[in-house]
Amino acid sequence: RLALARTDGAVEVYNFAANYFQEKAIPGHEARSVEALCWAAGDRLFGAGLGGDVCEYDLERLRVKRSADGFGGPIWSMAASSSGTQLAIGCEDGSVKLFRVVPDGVQFERSLDRQQGRILCLSWHPSETHIAAGSIDLLRVFDVSSGRTVQRIMVNYHVQKPKKRECVVWSVAFLSSGTVVSSDSFGRVQFWDWETGTLLESHTVSASAALALAVSEKEDSIVVGTSAGATYQFQLLPVKMGSQEKRWVRTKPFQHHTHDVRAVAHSPTALISGGLDAQLVIRPLMEKMQKKGYEAALRKFTFPHRRLVSCARKARLLLFQFSQHLELWRLGSTNESGKDGEVLPVCRMPEHLVQLKSKGPEHIYCSCVSPCGSWIAYSTASRFHLYRVQHEGDGVSIKKVTDVPKLLLPAYQLQCSADSGRLFVASDRGSVHVLQLLEPGGCKHLHTLRPPSGTPEAVYLLASSADGNWLAAASGDWEIHVYSLKRFKHHCTVPTYSCAVTALAIHPVTNNLVIAYSDQQLFEFSIPEKQYTAWSRTVQNCGLHRAWLERDSPITHIAFNPKKPSHILLHDVYMFCVLDKSLPLPDDSASLMNQSALKQLPETARKRQLHAFKICKKFQPLLFADLLDENCLVMVERPIMDIKTQLPPPIQQKKFGT
């Protein structure tokens, strides 16, 4: 599992075993910036930031569990000892503090020698006897037992006086051999012997700063990220074939980011980097790959693996969820029709109806708009808000529902029933609250559905049936429970599958539950019969197309066309697909993306070439797609260029010919 923190304080956890699915996401907080994250004491995740607190994250309930004050001003760095029992933090005031990890959080243990200058980076020696700390212009090594500074290394000692600028040591790593590796704002990666304080090797990787470095577990490979957006791999290689003497050699440069690489990690088989361009890049090391597979491909993650847009089908409204506000838009319309590929004139322009700003520092967890468009609900970490939207002609007025029931918060997912009469609130411990929405503006808590066996994990996906009888809920342990809404009873559990659920939906006609998993498998489960449907079994027997299974991003939304019961509408970031169950499945020899080929064929010849997956890649990157009515789809694209314009300008790099 990989944990990453964004600049807005959000923390995300990616599960490598489940095709790098973004399994948990803890929304950010205005006052909480995260400068350092570390796993300690097993699977516990700790974070520290400029707020000065060390906090532990609750990965089951997706929020901060506890936090403790560091008493050293803003915390710039944190490192866990190799056994995971101690945390060291580096503070603004120049102190390094040790915390002990105890079952209920962290406990201050002691403070090491305080020096001048903020501590920007820390690294434990694997034997836990020493700590290396990087500051401005210098590196220090502390003895843990005495708390004394045992070595002071000036990193730009040998630079001539007039050229001297402030040199920031951005990152250090303490190797078991006693070598301290540092990367600094001069773009150098330097290897020091801590005992003598001498420079062993120095490599200049970049003209700009080398911001982050990470060492592989075997200590034979280092990854360095620079502010020019490049990452470099260093490897400890023998000087000659078969020679005992080994040296660090810069082996592979990668340029996957446009902006600063702020964080890097080294997994046994891949280099992982995260940059200011909001991208997470997993670059597998080909020499560590046994076979070609999902893991062996370069992966880039730009978009969250969850739904941030909700659609009111009947009212033709879209609700966009931003980190601290919501926007409600009315879709434009046309009164003309045309042929394939034509752009129709828009006779009614889309209209921005409402912008709802969330109060307080907390970011929004989830939101939803009811199908009729008259209810909007959202939740933050501590508050749940419900609004009644009144449509008066072209205008709208919005009224807050004041007497919302006190629920255990936060809500992880909100979903309205098809008749807009009920609101389902996904909550922790596998529970789902059912609220009744009352006219003209009120709500009542009806029932709380709980899985019969109980689970510590929160529900993160909901799907309700069109007839209002069934509700399916997927929780963090990848279990899917189906509840009967007529009797408020647990109906059945879908057989557990070894991968994370990425999308869920119940077919409006057949009441079949369609499930998409992060390994790109699709299942169809008949709720009335409590078993997988025949089609689902056929899919499993034949296997899905290889190109389908090797896709990059998970399916994030499933929809249906009530007029064509055999169709399932799916989308991920890069494609939109109509899955026609009545057509044969493609085998590996056929082309999966055959739409353009089909278009060139005459009508008569098409029949033989048809297969179940009708894929459209015209709209990219696709944030959301849903069916409004039988011949109207809404697609929400989020152009990467649009995101990039909001980013600070990258370091100017001279490109050839410009």
Binding site: E342, V343, C616
Partner: protein
């Protein structure tokens, strides 16, 4: 044709296995997978093997003192193994069971002869008394009474089939030299008994059967070395007791005097049987052999000697033979393709023989050696004849003789016979293309021919050489002197073919060809038959001369004047016309030069030779290249029409090479000046043209980009059709 591949050892056998009747193993049965076999030895052990890995997967033994009396079979439905030890004790176990003492056990009331397992059915248990039960019926009441049909007959062989989902068991019994066949139809519980027609002085040794179209075909190997076929209809109408079955001779196991004493046999397909036995020739020690026979043509297809001896048992599962050979169990994979007319006339490429023929036997490469070996063979043949030894041996030699002898003879003949005689023999040789090592043989023949050509200036079998090179894939290295001789004889056609066909001509020879082609006059060439395919499409042969003439009329120059006055006042237009629009060489010469352009070369090796080219010829060649260049630039694809016509790259490369080699000469040479300047102008025009095209390409791309940007509006309603 059937063929036996190289065998491999599956496992060694214990002391009980080995040579001779009564030795060997109890039985080999197919295992749960197609690649698995179950081996039951004559003692206490059964072993499961994965054949392709030659690896045992499991081994089970009964306790000391017990003995497995019935071969272990696999129940394909349940993947269980079934065995009977001490005649009456039935054991059933699974893969994971280790100790046979602890597995399911049932003691039966009668002695079991065999258990037959069918792919989609319940196993059948045949008792020594002739009673049959399915396993599930038997397991319901293990101690049930088993009837005895055959009081004092002994079961010799049994086999089970599935016909129309109905299990059928057939078994043969013997009593006082009389043989009986029983057919048990299980579903209807009908048992038919037949008596086998008696055969004088011989008795059946081995049986095998297959079922097709409701008729059981029983094949029976008799001790008189014949295989008989007996047909038993499944539907029997007459209900009389003991029908007598008549048999018909299927195959007599003898070939050219030697007789195969078969001990066991197997059916491979409808036309092939495999027989294991000892081949005894008159007056010679018998050898054990595995043989494959074609029953349709009554011929021995292939055989393999087994010098270490066998136990006389043969099993055949999934294109593999299993038998004991010495102290090991050997597996031989066979291929048995149904014989067809196509195969017989050599139209059907047989995979194995083609494999063999693709290897050149280097021993036959040198003609002297070939002759020597042939002579020795001849002498051996003669000797053997004089001694009147083995007939079969002589036969084989006699068969070999005509083929190889002619080659050897031919090589000797080539040295001194008259050309007509040689030509006849060569024709004969060419007709035998399927000969092994034909390529190498032909190489020898050509070398011999060339040697003769060198010594005897009158001798030149031109037609034969052309025919040979055109037909086959030859290389320069196979007959190194051929082109030299052709150059000497000025055989333009042969040189052209060689240049087109040979992949490995040395640059020296290429250059020599080029020089000869350039020096020879067009008049001379008109009489030779050169292949004009490469030029026919772009040189207008008919109008070539005419055009030149009309031009002369227009410009008021005659030909000689034109040639000479290149350096003087010459208008640009006439230049272009002269060098660009009409071909400076005749079509024959052009075709020959194209062949040179086509041949492979390496610049470093060609350049020194090219420097030796006389200046006049160099200019002529350059003029031709210029012509080709202008011609090929006329079309947008920059290719010349026609087969084997030079590509633009070949033209450019040669042009550069030629200019490199002769640059100083060209600059000095007055007649080259005009040519060079027009060439220069043309190239410059081309460069300008392409740079303009590049600019346009850039603009077009920009336009496309603009269009795309226009498309990506923030909000649009589009029509999308998904088929």
């Amino acid at each position: 044709m059937a063929a036996l591949c190289e065998g491999f050892t599956l496992c060694g056998l214990g002391p009980s296995g080995g040579v001779g009747p009564g030795a060997g193993v109890l039985a080999l049965e197919p295992g749960p997978d197609s690649d698995h076999v179950l081996l039951t030895d004559r003692g206490r052990t059964a072993t499961l093997f994965k054949v392709s890995d030659q690896k045992p997967l499991g081994c089970w033994s009964v306790k000391h003192g017990q003995i497995i009396t019935c071969p272990v079979v696999c129940n394909f439905e349940t993947h269980e193994y079934i065995a009977v030890h001490d005649d009456k004790v039935l054991r059933i176990w699974k893969d994971e069971d280790v100790n046979l003492d602890k597995v399911f056990k049932a003691t039966l009331s009668a002695d079991v002869y065999r258990i037959h397992s069918l792919p989609h059915g319940e196993p059948l248990v045949l008792f020594k008394g002739g009673g049959v039960r399915t396993l599930d019926v038997l397991l319901e009441a293990p101690q049930q009474e088993i009837e005895n049909f055959i009081s004092d007959e002994v079961i010799k062989w049994s086999e089970a089939f599935l016909e129309d989902q109905e299990p059928i068991l057939i078994f043969a019994t013997e009593k006082d030299e009389d043989y009986f066949i029983y057919v048990q139809k299980f579903k209807l519980n009908i048992l038919h008994k037949y008596k086998l027609e008696q055969q004088e002085l011989s008795n059946p040794l081995s049986f095998t059967a297959y079922i097709k179209n409701q008729i059981i075909t029983l094949l029976c190997l008799y001790s008189n070395d014949c295989i008989y076929k007996i047909l038993i209809p499944l539907q029997r109408h007459s209900e009389e007791e003991e029908q007598i079955l008549s048999k018909s001779l299927l195959l007599k196991l003898s070939v050219s005097g030697s007789v195969l004493k078969g001990t066991s046999f197997a059916i491979l397909d409808k036309d092939h049987v495999a027989v294991l036995g000892s081949l005894t020739a008159f007056g010679e020690e018998s050898k054990e052999c595995l043989t494959i026979w074609n029953t349709k043509f009554q011929t021995l297809q292939t055989s393999k000697e087994l010098p270490l001896g066998t136990s006389g048992q043969l099993w055949c599962y999934g294109e593999k033979f299993f038998f004991t050979h010495g102290k090991v169990l050997t597996v031989i994979i066979y291929k048995c393709e149904s014989s067809s007319l196509a195969a017989a006339v050599g139209k059907l490429k047989d995979s194995q023989t083609s494999d063999v023929s693709s290897f050149i036997n280097w021993n036959t490469l040198s003609d002297e050696e070939l002759v020597v070996s042939l002579q020795s063979q001849q002498s051996v043949a003669l000797k053997s004849e004089s001694k009147m030894t083995l007939r079969s041996r002589r036969n084989s030699v006699a068969k070999v003789q005509p083929d190889t002898l002619t080659v050897g003879q031919l090589l000797l003949d080539i040295k001194d016979s008259s050309s007509a005689a040689i030509e006849d023999e060569l024709k004969l040789l060419l007709s035998k293309e399927q000969m092994p090592d034909f390529q190498a043989t032909i190489g020898c023949v050509i070398t011999a021919l060339i040697n003769r050509c060198k010594t005897d200036p009158m001798f030149y079998p031109r037609n034969f050489l052309v025919q040979l090179i055109q037909k086959r894939e030859f290389s320069y290295s196979l007959c190194p002197d051929l082109m030299a001789v052709a150059l000497e004889k000025k055989d333009m056609h042969l040189l052209q073919i060689c240049l087109q066909r040979f992949p490995d001509i040395p640059e020296e020879i290429t250059y020599a060809c080029l020089k000869v082609f350039l020096s020879i006059s067009d008049d001379c060439l008109e009489r030779t038959d050169v292949n004009l395919d490469s030029v026919i499409c772009y040189i207008d042969i008919e109008s070539n001369n005419k055009e030149v003439k009309t031009e002369i009329v227009e410009n008021g120059f005659n030909t000689e004047l034109e040639e000479d006055s290149c350096d003087t006042t010459f208008t640009k237009e006439t230049h272009l016309k002269n060098d660009g629009e009409c071909c400076p060489v005749g079509p024959q010469k052009a075709a020959l030069l194209n062949a040179v352009l086509h041949s492979a070369y390496s610049e470093t090796f060609l350049l020194p030779h090219l420097k030796d080219l006389p200046a006049q010829q160099a200019v002529l060649f350059l003029r031709y290249l210029h012509y080709l260049y202008v011609k090929s630039s006329e079309k947008i694809t920059t290719t010349l029409p026609g087969v084997l016509s030079p590509t633009i790259n070949q033209i450019m490369d040669w042009m550069c090479l030629l200019l490199d080699a002769h640059f100083t000469v060209m600059v000095m040479l007055p007649e080259a000046k005009g040519l060079l300047s027009s060439l220069h102008k043309f190239v410059r025009a081309q460069v300008r043209f392409y740079s303009e095209l590049n600019k346009i390409e850039g603009s077009l791309r920009e336009l496309q980009r603009l269009k795309r940007q226009k498309d990506s509006q923030t909000y649009s309603i589009e029509v999308l059709e998904l088929i």
